[in-house]
Amino acid sequence: MGGSCTIQVEDIFHFKDGRTVFVGSVENGPKFFKRGRYGVWLDGEWRGSIDLEGEMLNGGSKVGRSGPLRSVSTTDKFRLDRESIANRSLVLKPTPPSEARRSHVHRHLIGLKSPPPEYVADPMTLGPVLPEGWDGDAWENVGRSGGSFLRAWNKATGRVAYGDANSYEEARRLLLLKVSSGGDTAILDPPISK
């Protein structure tokens, strides 16, 4: 299907035959979207998965006039309409359900800052390779503004580190810099009494 490319939905149409059609912009997408399972993200929150039938071709339109807009359809029930997505970010992304669940469950960790709400788990990476004792995860903003949020933690020492930037490379650099300096103390609210 579309690899890791995402569809930023601009409008939704509910056809008489029961199909729901999404029209949205795609950057670096495949030549043609085939059928496949896509995750639905509304304002960065995973809302479930749908089976897309594939891409729709528009007849009688001038060649090259389609621009970046593409149309895909599903026969799955989809409750949102154009009014309910107005001024909101609706993204379709070919994310395996297991990864979607991972981001849904582990967004908020005790003692750590949560990623911004519009960020989703980056299915391609868990962040850079970290020194012994450190663990981490990676989040990306799949909207137009982009952005990468990396975080790392060391359970043995109770230290945490973050990298937040417009690009993955910069976020990675900031995170590794923080980790190498020992990181910050994890803040537990309320503090755990001994």
């Binding site: 008489k16 495949p30 071709l57």
Partner: protein
């Protein structure tokens, strides 16, 4: 909405029936429906979709070339032309095919001119 370049010759009543016989589904976009809003939004005369490009959506008064083009997109899908050429490539390919086979499809001079104009884009 951008001005539509409609087909010159209207589709005969027989043509959609023949298309249906080739295992395609046809829907006509009704006034006030999301189907019609979609066609207007995409500035399209017609549309084809579904898992194997066999669901055809037409405006109420389809032109002959509009019905034929949507039908041929299904054939393109089956022959993997869409896989090979992609979304925009398939649009070019189908129009060139129709121009090359204009006599076989008995297209009018006016419709062939329209196909040339659509090919040029715009």
């Amino acid at each position: 909405m951008a001005k539509l370049e409609r087909g010159y010759e209207p589709a005969s009543q027989e043509l959609p029936r023949l298309v249906l016989e080739k295992r395609r589904q046809i829907e006509f976009a009704e006034e006030g429906s999301d189907d019609l809003r979609y066609l207007d939004y995409r500035a399209a005369n017609a549309n084809v979709g579904g898992p194997t490009c066999k669901h055809i959506l037409l405006r109420k008064d389809p032109g002959k070339i509009e019905v034929l083009e949507e039908f041929l997109h299904g054939t393109q899908y089956r022959c993997r032309v869409i896989d090979r050429l992609g979304f925009d490539g398939a649009e070019v390919h189908v129009k060139e095919f129709m121009i090359r086979h204009q006599r076989l499809m008995r297209l009018s001079v006016e419709d062939v001119e329209i196909l040339y104009r659509l090919l040029k884009g715009g």
